[in-house]
Point group: C2
Chain length 465, copies 2
């Protein structure tokens, strides 16, 4: 098991980076540029039909920052790519020595708010860009999507079921983790269950039914092994015939004092079939047998089923949640906001590119709430300002060392639940985007003007170079 | 490095499975059901705007099948999940002993064609479902998408650039591999470069520019380190001012007999800006300086840019290719098609569920081509039929042992290139779906009728149980 666990702890992920991080670092090195710089990781905009982000991914980011080292195998490979010996020697001794502030996992956040702020000698701060983005983009995207699915289910349990179509090994495990944090009851993913202590669930596949001479033989075989926790998949051949056989099984179990847990529907018109199924079960005194539904579900489909009063007790949600299918990426970026001159002065900076400009300076996010805890507004301010509200970024790494107690996945899930409850209702609508107020402090606004003027003068006006 | 490489070779992925695979296996075990069964892995339907699949993922599937073992850590965890001691003992000695036929990576294929066919004692064949689907779904989805992007670029190089928004660690590495197989020139992903021997590329980020007091200082620092292979990012502040500075740099380099490689555009109206940039470069005698463009590109955007005669020499394509953003999943499934009775007779089977039925029996796919090699039609037939055409499924595992020489990624890329060239032109259109003829042999059609009748009689008619 060790190799996988090591991997999940992000050992040896030093080369999981875009090549340009390394070419830039080599150029910084040649210029002997070791001054500290600060980068913000933030998400530019909300996807359609989203009004907030549920932040996850910090644990992996921290494991990664704690464990970057370049092995001789890495060095040999990089040498072949043309890097020079003195830079490779620098990498041989590489260790992340910076300071990191971040929003804890399970925080709700909004566009342009720094989620992670990294201050370190620029080579170190630059090098870690790709990994941090990769991990926060994926995990936050899934947590945000899953929170919507859980909302749509109105308290009925949702199980994450999408491993077969989730993107790869790491992706599959992280989808399970983020979905659970967002409020799912558990996952079908056994590995994620073991690694993150997430409840695992499963029923049976159509193949199980088909492998027996008759459907009822398959049902009997399954309940023999799991008498008190069987959910019978009834739609392999015909769902009405299937539920009739489930009734027979339930009656056989009852004779032994055992109750059939449930039946599962996985195809066809789930609203209509679930009603037929409920009726048949109830007519045989089996009102305790639960109906579990799956098959192409997402927040929109679940919402529609519940509007039609489909008597479904819980949902298995796969592909569309596990890939965030309606919007399979987030616009997370990692941008330089402050450098230091050789003389030691801090110098705020920003991008002016069309549609892609950024916020200068080292920043903090303050959150103001109503008397009942409901979120009122956020203020992005400079980190040394005094602003009303709760600061959202906490120090997680100091001088390269972890100074933050990593919460368990269950604690993060509790944290997320509390934070989601504090969101104003309109932000949790499934359709449309409600804009939550995120203001910039006066000092930050002043800084933006100042930096813009400076950069326009040095970089754009004709006499600049 | 070992843990990651071990991981990439899919060691210890035994628990990377849906829980129901294990509950079904436990029930099979309790029924002492060890007869062989055959499953087909296939994709139900083409996503919008696709007319073929480019198959990848077999290497990981084979590594996985070769390496499934349950460690004591797995067993302890499964015991906690309620599995009984005799089944756990069975797992302790688990080894995949079956026979596998598959289409080599780089094959083009169509809906309902078996891509991988697994015959093994049913517990073994069932258990491997989730991993096989996960790996083939992701990798084939990306290869199929990337083939479209490469087509759209009409011979201009495409570099896969999306690591920061690709789904996780395994996902990011596999996207690089599949994109390269599909015809991309390389990747920004250094780890994928090292593991799979894929060319790596990179330029510089806006942060690099911003970290220097002036843009031109950043350019000078970079070309100092990489004089003969610098691509300068010119749009951090203003692209016209940026290209003017790139001209200055190119002139400085020329004095030392070195040519600037290129400039990079990453925002704004790429068609318009690339024309301005080309004009400015040419006006200064710098026609050898290439223009590299990136920023929100996919096959549709590239096609539009080339229609507008944008003078772009190569493309960096990220998020939308690396997540197959217009359709971020494939409908790959793994279905039982044949079982064996206790008496030893083979029994073909199929699903009858609405919209989800399957093809019974052990099958082979035959491909017929025109005199010039162009694909004419495919025939799905029973594996023991004699049918005109080239059989696409080859035996890759026999009695649990690999009997197939794994090609290098470069060989797979060559194979893919050849196969893509043989596709009828309409199948490579970017918009719309062209249906390629896939027929069922007469014997397979007869078998379908027979199995349908048998299952309808036993399972659906009232007197069935």
């Amino acid at each position: 098991m060790k190799p996988l666990l090591d991997y999940l702890k992000q050992q040896n992920m030093s080369l999981f980076t875009d090549f340009y991080e390394l070419t830039m670092c080599a150029a910084y090195f040649d210029s002997q540029k070791f001054e500290p710089a600060t980068f913000d990781l933030f998400i530019r905009r909300l996807p359609e039909n989203r009004s907030f982000f549920l932040i996850t991914g910090l644990e992996d980011a921290l494991h990664y920052l704690q464990s970057i080292t370049f092995t001789e195998e890495h060095i040999v490979y990089l040498k072949k790519q043309g890097f020079k010996e003195d830079f490779l020697n620098y990498l041989r001794n590489f260790k992340f020595t910076g300071e990191v502030w971040a929003m804890p996992e399970g925080t709700v956040a909004f566009p342009n708010e720094p989620l992670i702020r990294v201050s370190a000698p620029i080579i170190e701060a630059q090098l870690v860009e790709t990994f941090l983005l990769n991990t926060v983009n994926l995990q936050t995207m899934i947590a945000t999507k899953a929170a919507r699915v859980v909302d749509a289910a109105q308290g009925k349990p949702v199980i994450e079921f999408g491993l077969r179509r989730e993107p790869g090994i790491d992706g599959g495990v992280k989808v399970a983790r983020s979905s659970y944090i967002a409020g799912c009851q558990g996952t079908s993913n056994v590995l994620a269950g073991m690694v993150y202590d997430i409840p695992v669930f499963g029923t049976m596949a159509h193949s199980f039914i088909m492998s027996y001479p008759k459907e009822i033989d398959a049902f009997r075989a399954f309940v023999k092994t799991f008498p008190d926790k069987s959910t019978l998949l009834i739609d392999t051949y015909d769902e009405v015939a299937g539920v009739q056989k489930a009734v027979l099984i339930a009656k056989e179990l009852e004779k032994n004092g055992v109750r059939l847990s449930g039946v599962r529907l996985d195809s066809g018109d789930l609203a209509q079939i679930s009603k037929k199924t409920r009726k048949l079960l109830d007519a045989h005194g089996l009102s305790f047998v639960k109906i579990f539904a799956s098959g192409d579900l997402d927040e929109y489909a679940i919402s529609e089923l519940l509007q039609k009063n489909a008597p479904i007790d819980s949902f298995g949600v796969g592909t569309k949640m596990g890939t965030s299918a309606d919007r399979p990426f987030l616009d997370g970026v990692y941008k330089l906001c402050e450098t230091q001159t050789v003389a030691g002065d801090f110098l705020a900076t920003m991008k002016l590119s069309e549609g892609k400009n950024t916020l200068p300076g080292r920043k903090q996010v303050y959150r103001q709430t109503d008397f009942d805890g409901t979120l009122k507004k956020d203020i992005i301010a400079l980190s040394d300002e005094v602003v009303e509200g709760t600061p959202l970024l906490v120090k997680v790494i100091d001088k390269g060392e972890l100074v933050y107690d990593l919460p368990s996945v269950k604690q993060i899930r509790e944290n997320a639940k509390e934070n989601l409850l504090k969101l104003p209702k309109p932000l949790r609508q499934l359709v449309g985007t409600h804009v939550y107020p995120v203001e910039l402090s006066q000092k930050l606004q002043d800084l933006i003007k100042k930096v813009k003027t400076r950069l326009t003068n040095t970089e754009i006006n004709q006499n600049s170079c």
